[in-house]
Symmetry: C2
Subunit: 138 residues, 2 copies
Amino acid sequence: MSSAFTLHPQIIADSIAVGDLPLCHLRLMNDAGFPWLLLIPKRAEISEIIELDAAERAVLIEEIATVSQVLKSLTGCDKLNVAALGNMVTQLHIHVIARFKGDPAWPKPVWGQVPARPYAEAVAADLVSQLRILLSIS
Amino acid sequence: MSSAFTLHPQIIADSIAVGDLPLCHLRLMNDAGFPWLLLIPKRAEISEIIELDAAERAVLIEEIATVSQVLKSLTGCDKLNVAALGNMVTQLHIHVIARFKGDPAWPKPVWGQVPARPYAEAVAADLVSQLRILLSIS
C-alpha cells in the first residue's frame, strides 16, 4: 500500500489546480455559479480533520483563514461558507465558498442545489492567476 | 452598543446548552435525527472565522477536534461533518455533526433535508450528561 498523496479522481474532475500551500493543495471548483475553493491536505488516506495531528491542524486553520481572506477580498462576498463534509468523496477536503445574497443557492448551502456551470476557460485562468498572486504561489 | 457575548435567539430555540469550553459555548442541536453539536465562540458580533485572531483560531480548531473526537467515540459514526455556514443565523457557529450511512439525509448535507425531530427530554439530558463527562465540563 502506497502512502503517497494522490488526489481523488472526482476532485480532479470537478476542480482546477491553483497551487500548493505548505499543508494543502488548493483548487478552484469549476463552477461559475460560486467562487469556491478546495483545500486538500497533502496527506495520504485521511478523511477527517481529527486524523491530522495538532501541529497540522494549526496550519490548516491558518490556511483556511488566508484563503478565506483572499477570497473575500477578491469577490466582496456577503458571507463565507467553510466546510469539511466528505460524505461522498472521502478524501479530506475543506470547502471555502464565497456566498452572495441572491446567488443561485442563497441562503441554502451550495451542495446539490444547482448543477455546476463550468467557467469559460479564460475566466478560470484569470481567477487562478489572481489567486496565485494574492496567495504568493509561484 | 454592548460588546457582551449573547446567543442569537434562533440558536437558543434550536439547541440545548451543554456547557462552556475555553473559547466556545457548546450546544446540542435538538434534533434526534442526527447527533449534532454547535460550537459558538464567545465573542460578540462576529460572523466569520477570520474575525477571530490567530490565537483564537488555534484554540477553535482544537475545540473542534476535541468535540469531534468525543462525538465520534460516543456515536461510532461513519463520518464527521464540520461546517461554518451562517447564511441565515449570522452569529459565528460551527456545526459538528455525526453522520451515518443511512441516516435521514445521507449522503447529502443535513441542512434543510428533513425537519428537526426534537429529542425526548430524558434522552437529551442523558446525551448532555455524557458529553459533559467526556469533555470534563463541570
